[in-house]
């Protein structure tokens, strides 16, 4: 049984405005699934449907075997969601907000205060513990939002852009908490448009674009699936740059070669492991000296570009 399963899931906000189109999607138990996509790709809509906040227009969605439309209250008992925008009671202090949430979600009374204090310290909210929610900074409010899920420790945890507005130090703490939650047995769904976050957290990544699933696989497989995904940066000492460029472009496995200034070249190749020996042989025969070689792998940005033809961040501003 999957922890989460959707079949033919569609959400329409108006006759023409589709947020999700016939989405088939699964998450295994105890898996961290990352939804990757630009703004407006349907990530938040999917999360809100799974959290039973939104109703689907058609199709079917299950969480832990429970239909989200037929048994929403039961589903809500199993999950916790951290919203994209922090949702807090304006005139409450962080600890009050967490205490309320812990109470409503059934966290045992004797554990609450210790858990809340530890979280406030770990997420660096301790100094802001006496501020009202409305006086918190964007980053503090966001950390408090994710803290709600950490205090609840649900079987199914949903995070919508958990580290947006949070500094790098804060991001790492939140990522560590998310992974700790997974270690304890939770199934986790994270929506993000941050490549680094996806790479750090994901067991698998689902790429969404315009409400449709484009591809779903592990980060490694997604990167490997790109032809020309490996990038080899070269510096070659040669008097005839044009000839070398032509020779390099004829090597088997070369997808694209470009001269990035003077004697520097950037080669997009299918597989760096087999391409580099051929390249050294060609250079030797053409009496060109290799000064440096640097092999890099594609990022999830490249994966998104490869599968959708669009850059992940072009409409995120």
């Amino acid at each position: 049984m999957y922890a989460v399963e959707t079949n033919d899931l569609t959400k329409r906000y108006s006759k023409k405005a589709y947020a999700l189109k016939n989405l088939d999607f699964t998450i295994d138990e105890n898996e961290v699934m990352v939804l990757l996509g630009p703004n407006g790709s349907g990530k938040t809509t999917l999360l809100l449907i799974l959290a039973t906040v939104l109703k689907p227009t058609s199709g079917h969605a299950e969480v832990m075997g429970l239909d989200v439309s037929a048994h929403p209250t039961h589903v809500r008992r199993l999950l916790g969601i951290s919203f994209q925008e922090a949702r807090g009671f304006w005139r409450h202090k962080p600890a009050d907000i967490l205490r309320f949430h812990a109470n409503v979600c059934g966290v045992p009374k004797e554990k609450r205060d210790t858990l809340i204090d530890n979280l406030l310290k770990d997420l660096e909210l301790w100094d802001a513990r006496n501020k009202l929610f409305m006086h918190l900074s964007g980053g503090q409010a966001k950390r408090l939002e994710v803290a709600k899920v950490f205090v609840h420790r649900p079987k199914f945890a949903i995070f919508d852009e958990p580290t947006s507005q949070v500094d790098l130090r804060g991001k790492r703490k939140i990522w560590a908490q998310i992974l700790r939650l997974r270690e304890e047995g939770s199934t986790i769904l994270v929506a993000t448009n941050e490549v680094r976050e996806a790479e750090f957290l994901a067991d698998r990544v689902t790429v969404l674009d315009e409400g449709k699933k484009v591809v779903c696989d592990s980060v490694r497989h997604l990167k490997d699936s790109i032809t020309g995904g490996d990038v080899v940066e070269l510096e070659i000492d040669t008097p005839d740059v044009q000839t070398i460029e032509q020779v390099l472009s004829r090597i088997e496995g070369t997808v694209k070669i470009s001269n990035s200034g003077e004697n520097r070249f950037k080669a997009h190749v299918s597989m760096a492991e087999s391409w580099v020996p051929k390249m050294t042989d060609v250079c030797y025969r053409n009496k060109a000296n290799i000064v440096s070689i640097r092999v890099t792998e594609p990022s999830l940005d490249d994966v998104f570009l490869h599968f959708t033809g669009r850059a992940l961040r072009e409409d995120t501003g």
């Binding site: 809100l48 209250t73 919203f83 949702r87 009671f89 304006w90 005139r91 109470n103």
Partner: protein
């Protein structure tokens, strides 16, 4: 945690929210006290009738009314700030959220009106103080009904704050003007047509004010028919308001917004 406990936790949270808005409490209290301790005494000197016994119970009901209507402001804030989405994600059914807000609105208004009543009892000693306790459950139902109206206004106004406050003022003007809060029914009959007089007489604010005047401050024996009328008219408000708010929340579940 059972669903009832979640509803009560939500209600307690909203109840505390009312008292956290200290500036609002200060304004409300100062307005009500100035009415009670200044306006009522001045008018009492001007008018032929005993205006204190007319107006002081009226102010208690006005306080109840204003505090109940604050539920709408809190709901409007929850809608505007997206807190409502958070509440819809909690392990409770949609109508549980509605009930929680009505309970909190009723309880907050009752506590506020009770504090006014304590002050009023200093100014105008009660003839039958126990009747005040008898009236409290009915005032609670009335406050829930008014909170229901406020919830409806908040849902209609959606995220447009100016609409909400405009609607609130219109309702306030209509319900208070067409009531016996400021004047006894005998005086109103001289100026308004019979149809409106019927409306004034059936207004739950009039009924509650009359009950306070007659039973608590005049010491008249309690009539069950008047209490039943308060219960029925207030329940009607609460039911209509509750369903309107429920409709708004269901629309949020479908459209993602109002």
């Amino acid at each position: 945690m059972s669903e009832i406990r979640v509803v009560l936790a939500l209600a307690r949270n909203d109840f505390s929210y009312f008292f956290r808005t200290k500036w609002l409490m200060a304004i409300l209290l100062s307005l009500n006290l100035s009415d009670m301790l200044v306006v009522a005494f001045v008018y009492n000197g001007i008018m032929k009738i005993d205006y204190l016994i007319i107006f002081i119970p009226g102010i208690i009901i006005m306080g109840l009314f204003a505090a109940s209507l604050d539920t709408g402001r809190r709901i409007w804030l929850a809608l505007r700030e997206g807190v409502i989405q958070y509440e819809l994600s909690l392990p409770v059914q949609t109508h549980g959220v509605v009930v929680a807000y009505l309970l909190a609105g009723g309880a907050a208004a009752l506590v506020y009106a009770s504090s006014l009543m304590v002050i009023a009892l200093i100014v105008l000693p009660a003839s039958a103080i126990w009747s005040a306790f008898m009236l409290l459950p009915f005032l609670f139902i009335l406050a829930m009904g008014l909170a229901g109206i406020a919830a409806t206004l908040a849902a209609i106004a959606s995220t447009h704050g100016e609409f909400f406050f405009a609607f609130q003022n219109i309702v306030q003007m209509a319900l208070l003007t067409l009531s016996t809060v400021y004047y006894p029914l005998e005086e109103i009959q001289k100026f308004l047509p019979p149809l409106l007089v019927t409306v004034v007489a059936a207004n739950p604010l009039s009924l509650a004010t009359e009950a306070l005047r007659q039973y608590t401050f005049n010491g008249a024996p309690i009539e069950l028919s008047l209490l039943a009328n308060i219960f029925l008219t207030s329940s009607l408000f609460a039911i209509v308001g509750g369903f309107a708010y429920l409709g708004a929340l269901r629309q949020i579940r479908v459209k993602g917004k109002l």
